[in-house]
Symmetry: C2
Subunit: 391 residues, 2 copies
Amino acid sequence: MSTGTVPYRYKDKIIINPLMRGGILREDVKKKICEEGWLDVGYNVCFDCVEGRSSLISKPGIKSFLKEIAHFVGGDDAEHTFGCRAAQFSVMKTVSEFAKEDGRTNIIITDPNSHYSTNIAAEMCGLHAVEPPHTGYPEYMVEADRVLEKIEEVEKESGKPALVVMTHADPYYGNIAPVEEVGKICKEKEIPYMVNAAYTGGVKPIDMKDFNADFLTLSAHKSMASVAPLGFLVTTFVWSKKVFALSRSKAEWTGRVFGKKIPNVFGCSVGGLPLVSAMHSFPAVRARVKNWTDEIKRTEKFIERMEDIGDIMLLGERPHRHHLLHFETPRFWEISKTQKKKGFFLAKEMNKRGIVGLHKGLSKHIKLSVYGLSDEELERVAAAFEEIAKM
Amino acid sequence: MSTGTVPYRYKDKIIINPLMRGGILREDVKKKICEEGWLDVGYNVCFDCVEGRSSLISKPGIKSFLKEIAHFVGGDDAEHTFGCRAAQFSVMKTVSEFAKEDGRTNIIITDPNSHYSTNIAAEMCGLHAVEPPHTGYPEYMVEADRVLEKIEEVEKESGKPALVVMTHADPYYGNIAPVEEVGKICKEKEIPYMVNAAYTGGVKPIDMKDFNADFLTLSAHKSMASVAPLGFLVTTFVWSKKVFALSRSKAEWTGRVFGKKIPNVFGCSVGGLPLVSAMHSFPAVRARVKNWTDEIKRTEKFIERMEDIGDIMLLGERPHRHHLLHFETPRFWEISKTQKKKGFFLAKEMNKRGIVGLHKGLSKHIKLSVYGLSDEELERVAAAFEEIAKM
């Protein structure tokens, strides 16, 4: 091991980190990865690469898998990417070029609950992100009317926006954004429209046609039970030609061209083990989205139980439509003052009970998820909070 | 499995693909990954993330590991990236911005044997790649004088180049480029200088100070016995501030800032299992570069043996200083004409003998590597070619 390496410390723990719950690997997939030999070599999907790009490989069937991914979310075409952040970057890069050609501004509109990777992707591409307001405490809702007002403001002051982005379920409150309504607005106004489904695609049924979305970005390690880093960019036939355009550069003296490579995804996005894991997980992922209504019911019950503790309140929309939960927890904050570990006591106490994934140091607010937990595990989590609340 | 998934078909085979030999995982590392639980969840290094960027995590010790990587190749600072291609992109993006500020051209000079990912990274950043000539058949050498001439030509016709890139060992012939001489030229002329060490860093001792390099890019899955996709960008204190500059964007209405994120590496490069594998492999990788002279001697003997077959000749420099071998094989081409499988017969015949990784369909030219093979495996590979040559 290198000096800094520590053994994995979370085996057989109950993970409640909301970023992680959708990315837990199935036992059968881990078994296949370890036993079949997929860990033998870094470039494990390149043995039968003929055309020079991973997304064109048919053994294993990456090409057909990407079609399945596209159809799974109602799109026409998909490429795998280095995480959802790289998918968002590809979109931003494409629309920034399109904006120049089309005389648009370099302004994009994002919802105010966007993941940081959306804002970073914009920054990478020289795009300026502006936001409509949310409804504020305690629900922090994004409303289509506010998005429309923001679009109109930009149009009036600067010109046509380069892109509108909605974060389908946001990473702060787990609110579901009004993606359909905003889609209608964008369609009418002919503004390219991206929905970041990093927290929904793979746990909840999605059809990007319902959203009128031009681009849908997915995170395999967040919501598709896969090894990190892996994402997908799904798009329509119309935008596919632009965002997945092939290389046009020619090396000067040698005259080399790279005609199968897609610059927006670094030529070839390699794939490797993350992609293998996603392919193996996909049938189960496709099946599990059908249980979404049940998952939400169980989550609702868990919310009630948490709030019954007293001095604990869910932030974000009600009824809650996503598994990411953000509680305001003055109860635990009060207790922390009496504890030697101060704010760290809560994660520590949960850890003692075999439950991990709370952000360390926080006790005034906590974010968690019980998505996909068994009844027995869910009971342990609820009971742990109830017990700690009595400290 | 998704419709296209096939089981891994190369377990217990001898892999001779030259892109793969440096990326074979050690048995002990695979065991740790599978047994400790690193495959349990996509975000497996994020449990103890406090600062919001993977490269700042101390449990596991990613931060200290990156320091070790930097020092391993004579650099000051390193970030992990989504493969060497993403590291090259970060460099290109930085120098393209620097070029604008500094009144340079958007022209970069690459060696004529560059990997396609260098050219694609340039294309992504709007940089135009020009090349000095190589020496042509059969050695295809890059010469520092030709690089200097090209620099002078660009300076005369257009202005100061934005960057010079040398591919330390190239992917076509396994030639070692004159990285020290070119480094001297770049230092004198004050041109930013990047060495792509994807095929050397992790198999051969490297000190980027000897090269006078400003940037060194590494591929963990190519040459550091790691799961894909993972690379490293190593740089100097001077360039670190630019290439690893922190985010300066501010989300408009919420006022959110992302001050720990590095836009040039997508904010945070996640890490995940590829990074875990690299950390576990690193002590062995650091040790193995000391055996480079022996590896080259074994490779030399293998070359002799191949050429003794007759009508087979190594292309690229002699004596050969890298494990990537490109043979011209008229002998196999002649045999292929008599075979039902035509050009595919060679890979097929090798496969029958448990040896995999030759590019399918090629028999006129082959690329392979025997790096890291045991004596017994190396013997099997040589004997297989000798046997097939008699068909």
